[in-house]
Symmetry: C2
Subunit: 174 residues, 2 copies
């Protein structure tokens, strides 16, 4: 767990990375999304050491991202599946896939295609404004300090308020 290093960050991104930011973790979740569920399947697929894999799986189960289910009694064996919380990471993994497809293309084309189950069409992400319903591009989106950051600034005082409190733009100023 990255907590010791990341945990003083008042930021949902760093909180997420405490859980899924360790090496191999997102690839384990990708494997489960692709239909692998057992310890030995992860070892074979990833080439990760059993010790590291055990640590990663334990954290993911403890955090409720994966659930562990017995599938054999003697010896006792478990497989792993995504919880709703784990499935909610699908967009993170999908965007990593699309980014890799675009910037590190395989000569023959994408290794994996995300498709609409019913018609086989390609999946396309879009962003909208929940208020005016406009479709948004990256340049239309800004990051603003939210109530959680303000509350924190009021209750702790170690000089981070002005820095963390700054409004940010998701694109550089033009």
């Amino acid at each position: 767990m990255l907590g010791r290093d990341y945990s003083d960050q008042i930021c949902s991104i760093s909180r997420s990375l405490e859980v899924v930011g360790e090496r191999w973790t997102l690839l384990i979740l990708r494997d489960v999304l692709l239909g692998r569920h057992r310890f030995d399947e992860f070892v074979e697929s990833l080439g990760v050491t059993r010790t590291v894999l055990t640590q990663r799986l334990r954290l993911l189960v403890d955090e409720g991202v994966l659930e562990r289910r017995p599938y054999q009694q003697r010896p006792e064996r478990f497989d792993y599946d995504l919880t709703d919380k784990g499935r909610a990471l699908t967009p993170v993994i999908a965007h990593l896939l699309w980014w890799g497809d675009h910037y590190y293309p395989e000569p023959a084309g994408p290794p994996r295609l995300l498709q609409h189950r019913d018609c086989g069409g390609p999946v396309e992400p879009r962003f909208f404004c929940g208020q005016c319903q406009a479709e948004l591009t990256a340049g239309d989106i800004v990051a603003q300090p939210g109530p959680g950051l303000s509350a924190h600034s009021l209750t702790r005082d170690h000089g981070t308020t002005s820095r963390s409190g700054a409004a940010g733009s998701l694109t550089p100023p033009v």
Copy 2:
């Protein structure tokens, strides 16, 4: 760079993680998105060691995710900004933020809000089928082997074809 461990994976997700999967890297990109651009700002914000930060920034510049620009001559100093390739990671970071907001909420509310620049409305992600235009949920999306995976299976033969070639569902079968 995680290349040695990840590079035998024929997968755009692992290719992406070779570049942005190391510890701190996504938080550096978050910092740039929020308006931090200088080495000392990253050190102060992240508490990362200067050695590790230097390594991460070098990889991100080498890979064309960040660009380094001189802002002072004596002594020579640089700041860092996102390239188009770096900005294309915004959805990855946004979804990590939303996931953290949802599953690890701050009592007072989200620390950061992603808003529509024009009207201040909340940004909402949606997925569509590029063929039939239906709006998709996670259960509507399947991962299929693409041409890059098939080409690889034909040119290399170390027993991974059947495993890697399996179609995957982004949700477990119901």
